[in-house]
Symmetry: C2
């Protein structure tokens, strides 16, 4: 219904996380009722963001600046690097206003089921950052089996550097992903971080 342009719009909207065919159709119809005030501004925002946002060469954060606003902020503690799986997790931690150091976006965790092995995770960018300034690495990976495996693997890899390696305190619910946690729980877990046993 509505012609090929509408079918195509619905198909693309349905691919967004949290959307399905039904909600995509509702969203498309809602927007089509107000094309000038709803559709064209969203189209412009998508184009602007695609044009201006890139991954930070240092930490992997997504930002309009490169280095990103976290890496470029001289008030931040350069001795403290927090390793996260995704940019979404980085933003979740930033919202707690609890971590005043830098970040490193790993982009993946090891996964036996997903077939992600140590060979698939590039640590060269992270290891290159351990130039003597860094005194602690906080592993803020998901509290899943895969996240825990990755935490222990990274702790082993980082041990030769002599840098303290910590992880988020237990308190993160098992099976939960960081970016859907309430900020209070996330802040508590960050403050109570402990050395990797």
């Amino acid at each position: 219904m509505g012609g090929p342009e509408v079918e195509r719009l619905i198909a693309l909207l349905a691919k967004l996380p949290g959307m399905g065919p039904r909600s995509a159709r509702r969203a498309a119809l809602r927007m089509l009722a107000e094309p000038q005030t709803r559709m064209l501004p969203l189209a412009a925002a998508l184009t602007d963001a695609a044009r201006t946002v890139s991954a930070c060469n240092t930490c992997g954060n997504l930002d309009t600046r490169n280095p990103c606003m976290v890496c470029a902020d001289n008030a931040r503690d350069r001795g403290l690097v927090c390793v996260v799986e995704t940019v979404s997790d980085l933003w979740a931690l930033e919202r707690t206003h609890t971590h005043h150091g830098l970040y490193h976006v790993l982009g993946a965790t090891l996964s036996a089921l997903g077939g992600v092995t140590p060979a698939d995770i590039d640590l060269s960018l992270l290891l290159r950052r351990l130039d003597g300034t860094v005194r602690e690495i906080i592993l803020a990976l998901p509290a899943t089996v895969d996240g825990a495996a990755t935490t222990h693997w990274l702790a082993e890899k980082l041990a030769p550097s002599g840098i303290a390696v910590t992880r988020l305190a237990h308190g993160v619910p098992i099976g939960g992903s960081l970016d859907i946690l309430d900020d209070g729980t996330l802040a508590t877990a960050l403050r109570a971080r402990r050395p990797v046993e």
Copy 2:
């Protein structure tokens, strides 16, 4: 986080039906990871749809053609007009392949709480279509208090025309809206339509 372009994109995505601030953030981050393959095609689809789609001057359906593909289809029964609240409801009925007549999108129902009175609903377009060809009007409004009130009000308004006025059969769950119903229930309700008592 991410700069003003990202904040703006998240704010616009969060306004889509079914999305909130968290899912909008996830959607934005997912798309930002693949700007060329995910963001720019969606931006183009939005712009295309906004440019090409308009409301049908006859029935109010949204389509790239005007009159819309339903109104322009000479194989459809011009003696049967189905009145719906929204374009979304029209599309839901089309998916059942049960109605072979035309439609009329009312755009609203009466609502005591919402302050929608008979004066707020323009019937002139609908009344102008009752030129002697139309032999039955099916009122396919939501099975809510407001929908039922609107059904009875319309049946009264249409009575002087002498045209048969029917409504969808009971079977539509009370409180439910048409476009989230399964197609089977919707088709059954359409087939078992009855005169307005």
